[in-house]
Symmetry: C2
Subunit: 248 residues, 2 copies
């Protein structure tokens, strides 16, 4: 049995819940973690409200190997993530000399005002996550990684975090085009393939455009051999449905 | 005090959590609900796993005025949303004659096979949500609205649902460009504006491109007068920072 390393993602911010900002981080992080062998199992989006953030952090950090958060670590009054994380862990929080040193690389002493020093507030016991773009660091405490919400900064932080993460077996994914076959036509046989290949998960995904539906069947699993066998069974099933007698 | 109608959104599907499919529904639904006076307070993404779906449905439907779900109502074995909803509500589920009648508008009797009849499985006591695109209906039970995951179908369903929803006062939103001012420069004064205009929420949102940061300040609230006053205070603050003595 392959080792499973799991994760949750917590997106923090009113701007996502009002639709003002269209999230670009979920899809990026999902693909990134899948690619390095970490299973993203849950995502939550919560508003800039302390008790909501603390409750979600506690629920998710206790359930999965890792929790990643994005958003709420800037200099303005609505940036409350660091304080919420400290509260969730029951530790103190203050302006951190290591973070101040990093901010000094970007700001002159006059520029480093009280608001900007908010970005140096780091919970006790946390380690910093480097931000090569705008300097203000993220941080890691326990199994929680706190990142910026701005996608380019989050992505750079994730690159810095990735080498430190425990990872499991990578998901092997095969995508099979249904090539004109409707879901309702292949569903029953696909269900039988799924029932006899229980070590993989098989999904069927329709997408719709002006030219009609396009269906893709995706076989996922940690055992490459099992994925290959299930994928072959799916292809055989589709081939039979099409009455295609071409050589295997 | 304006009436507040709240909602949560539950996105169901492994394909989102693996990054295979990039979600387009969260942003759309968030903006849509905000526009009609419903406050989206929480979003969760869960995998195609019965106990996860049931637990999330129960947590969210009991907490908010409405729960909207997307995904998992197609004809294939991984489409388990309807059964999970029935389980969450503790009601039976079976092929529903009303849903079969709708599917017959699209499928001949031979085409309407067992797999496609899965799309007619509707929990007892639910009402149907029309799907003008591919016919297979969504449904509503209690305060839960179950929609397709394909964005165009979900959007059509949402249009059909909207007139039936209780709505609260619409959010009034003003967006103010910081026009070159850094967050760290205006943060302290913005915090004071926020502290003296407590009936609105004020957010500061940086975005980053090759041409640098662009900051926007967003004032949100249900009382247009309060939003106008807070926005004026924000603009005054920015103007003072810029040393701009232009007439008010």
């Amino acid at each position: 049995m392959a080792v499973s390393v799991t994760a949750a993602l917590l997106i923090i911010g009113d701007e996502i819940l009002t639709g003002r900002t269209k999230d670009k981080n979920i899809g990026y992080i999902a693909e990134y973690l899948t690619g390095i062998g970490i299973d993203l199992r849950e995502v939550r989006v919560v508003p800039d409200v302390e008790e909501e953030i603390v409750a979600a952090v506690d629920a998710l950090r206790n359930r999965y190997t890792y929790l990643f958060t994005t958003g709420g670590i800037g200099p303005t009054h609505d940036d409350i993530t660091a304080d919420c994380i400290a509260k969730a862990f029951g530790v103190g929080i203050d302006v951190d000399p290591r973070a101040v040193a990093v901010l000094r690389e970007r700001y002159t002493p006059e520029e480093l005002n009280e608001a900007r020093l908010r970005m140096a507030r780091i919970p006790d016991g946390a380690s910093l996550i480097e931000n090569p773009i705008s300097k203000a660091p993220g941080f890691c405490i326990g199994n929680v990684f706190v990142m910026a919400g701005v996608p380019s900064i989050m992505q750079a932080m994730l690159d810095n975090i990735a080498p430190t993460l425990e990872t499991g077996a990578r998901m092997v994914i095969e995508t099979i085009e249904a090539e004109g076959l409707a879901e309702g036509i292949y569903a029953e046989g696909l269900s039988q393939v799924a029932a006899t290949h229980t070590s993989v998960s098989i999904g069927s995904y329709p997408s719709f455009s002006t030219s009609g539906f396009r269906n893709q069947i995706v076989v996922r699993g940690k055992d490459p051999e099992a994925v290959a066998q299930a994928s072959a069974a799916v292809r055989d099933h589709l081939r039979r449905l099409k009455g295609d007698q071409a050589p295997l």
